[in-house]
Amino acid sequence: MIPELGHFALVLALLLACAQAVTSLVGAQLGERRGALLIAAGPPTAIGGAAFVGLSFGCLMWSYAVSDFSVANVVQNSHSLKPMLYKLTGTWGNHEGSMVLWILILGLCSAAVAWFGGNLPASLRARVLGVLGLIAVGFLLFTILTSNPFERVWPIPEDGTDLNPLLQDPGLAFHPPFLYLGYVGTAVAFAFACAALIEGRVDAAWGRWVRPWTLAAWCALTLGIALGSWWAYYELGWGGFWFWDPVENASLMPWLLATALLHSAIVVEKREALKVWTILLAILTFSLSLLGTFLVRSGILNSVHAFANDPDRGVFILILLAVTVGGSLMLFAWRAPAMVPQGVFAPLSREGALVLNNLLLATLCAVVFVGTLYPLFADLVLGAKITVGPPFFNATTFPLFVPLMIAMAVGPLLPWKRADLWAALARLRLAMAVVAVFAVVYIAAVDRALLPLLGFAVALWVVLAAATDLADRIKLGAVPLGDSWRRLRGLPRGAIGGIIAHAAVGICVAGIAGKGIAPERITLLRPGETTTIAAYTIRFEGTSSVAGPNWTGTEGRLVVIRDGREIGALTPQRRFYPVARMNTTEAAIRTSGFADLYGVIGESTADGATVVRLHFNPLAPWIWFGAVLMALGGLVSLSDRRLRVGVPARRRAPVPVAAE
């Protein structure tokens, strides 16, 4: 019964989503007075719809929890011996279940707009809810018609075929929810953009409302991507963290545009400039989220982590994509030309720096886009099979990335409207001196390879510039320390969040650069033999058999010795999952926070010699630490009074109405 209840709830959610879309859009069109009743119907349907999707998702999760093998989806993705955590997370470890999660998050966002959006002008809120309702209708139809997770199976199999063991991992278990939160968050910004186009009005207040949603989506996307890359780092077993895989690119592109959107929305909010561009960015960011969904699930892309897929579904998502994105872009082509650019500023100003930021981020995104899709279109149009791999992306993104980093350090120091570049650079002279000294010492003492040096230098530059910004704002050193402290307390959270996030980018870049100088050793060791890597001596103590709930495996023991003292052991594993019939490697990582010692074992020969692969990755943990800090900066900024949902109403309610 439970699966049928879930199915039924999903259909009810579809009906409610239809109601939400129709009542809200028609009501808003009739006007706030004549359509008042219809407008008022929007929020309850949104909240009710979210509740029904939640119920449906709960039913699916229940089916997984109790291993109900009469449900085809459970049979294909679960097994009775699987640990409970992965039974539950297996709910979204497959195409159908992940669609329900996607829709659930969309429903929750809709409900949040309905619940907390009381301070929005009624017609704007109605239109936002209407657009969100339309998106929900599309995805609910897709799920119910082509990817029903509640399909039964007869006869009932005795046990399931197990979830792919690679997905039975804490990092990957929580990677999709964050990613979907990010994708769907961009849907809210998209809905705001469409609503603004319908209303034909964008003002500072609009910028202020869009920003928290973009910020929240961006934080979630950052964490989601970081989790995915962390997983790749410790699970795939060769120490890489980013492969420019098409599916990774599909998540990176919305992130890049969301980052651009985050910054351009500031310009809209503060200066009422860049409005048309910001609208376009909001539309494109969500479009790229949808494109990712399409590419991953249609079977078009060659990827190691694409879902099982078939072209029939692809056609459905393509239609969905064409209607959603095509509709919004047509609306854009129709309404946007009427929006007259406003705002007056010199090219050299905070606005100008943010334009440069948007130019570079959008170009980066476009380059990734071209690199990801070129092979497909070359195949289709020219009939030529080519591969666009990491060397292309590294070669083309790096030259864009370095200027972005350099400008990113200077931008926040520029005042609005008109700036003096030399004054800003003068404030950064200490940072420049430190970076120069660092570069000289690094070349003399560490390494001469250009790229890692450039990476470290740029990272240091960004961190120091953020520190300079903070120090200047609180007048560190210029006034008594107590005054500085008071100033720090008084700084707007938005400013603090920005400084944290910028510094975090530097930290992340340092980690990435560290991978460029990471030594590695691959060797064949017999029990008792030793090898060295970096400052460590590693003694191999042999392998033993280990077993988990649904796997068996071999565990190697590598004793780590430094300066003659044993300081710990690495215990990498090779696992075999009999139900899924797959082998996995579990890397052993010993981290000091500043570097990782990373060990993997390979096959053993008959005489007990085992292939051992060791990496010493300086600063590697900073990649993910930096990403988490970025998201934290976003959250701090999100907690700013100005952006707190509900607050603008009390503080600056007249703005949206008064602006026209």
Binding site: L280, L284, G299, P311, V315, L321, L329, A333, D379, L380
Partner: protein
Amino acid sequence: MTARRLLFALPALALLVAAAGFWAMLSGMQRGSFDPRGVPSALVGREVPRFELAALAGWNKPGLSSADIAAAAREGPVLVNFFASWCVPCLVEHPQLMRLAAEGVPVFGINYHTGTQKDPGAVDWLRRHGDPFRRIGVDVTGRVAVDFGVYGVPETYLIDREGIVRWRMAGPITEQILADEVRPLLRRYR
């Protein structure tokens, strides 16, 4: 002003082009004319690479060399099939190969990674399911497979009278592929 309007319509137009492209890809995938995963063969239109492979130990067929293929091809088109006993798709295409062999089409087999621990069961496999091959070469190191540009098993090559590779099938020869592709090709190069 129209130029400005056109500029604003540009994103929608770009989407239209992209969507048309994706639609062409999807419908091509459904028809089988577009395969984003397939790897093209660099060997089609070129001569069969030179090689000489030993016979499968414990089995009553002679080994295989490029000269054997050239000699047989002078009589008419031949098929060269890469197979392995652990490969399920090989089993899917096996009846079709048996039928072709029964009809007199020369089918040569190359056992991929034989004799290593990767494929201990070739002899058992042939005994159980039948042997469609005229000759069988064992490619222990996978070197000949690389010379052919094989990227997995099963893979089948059609060679014409001049000893030129005319067609390559990556994946099992299903009944439909036998009827739609192999038979017309065999007629054409007869």
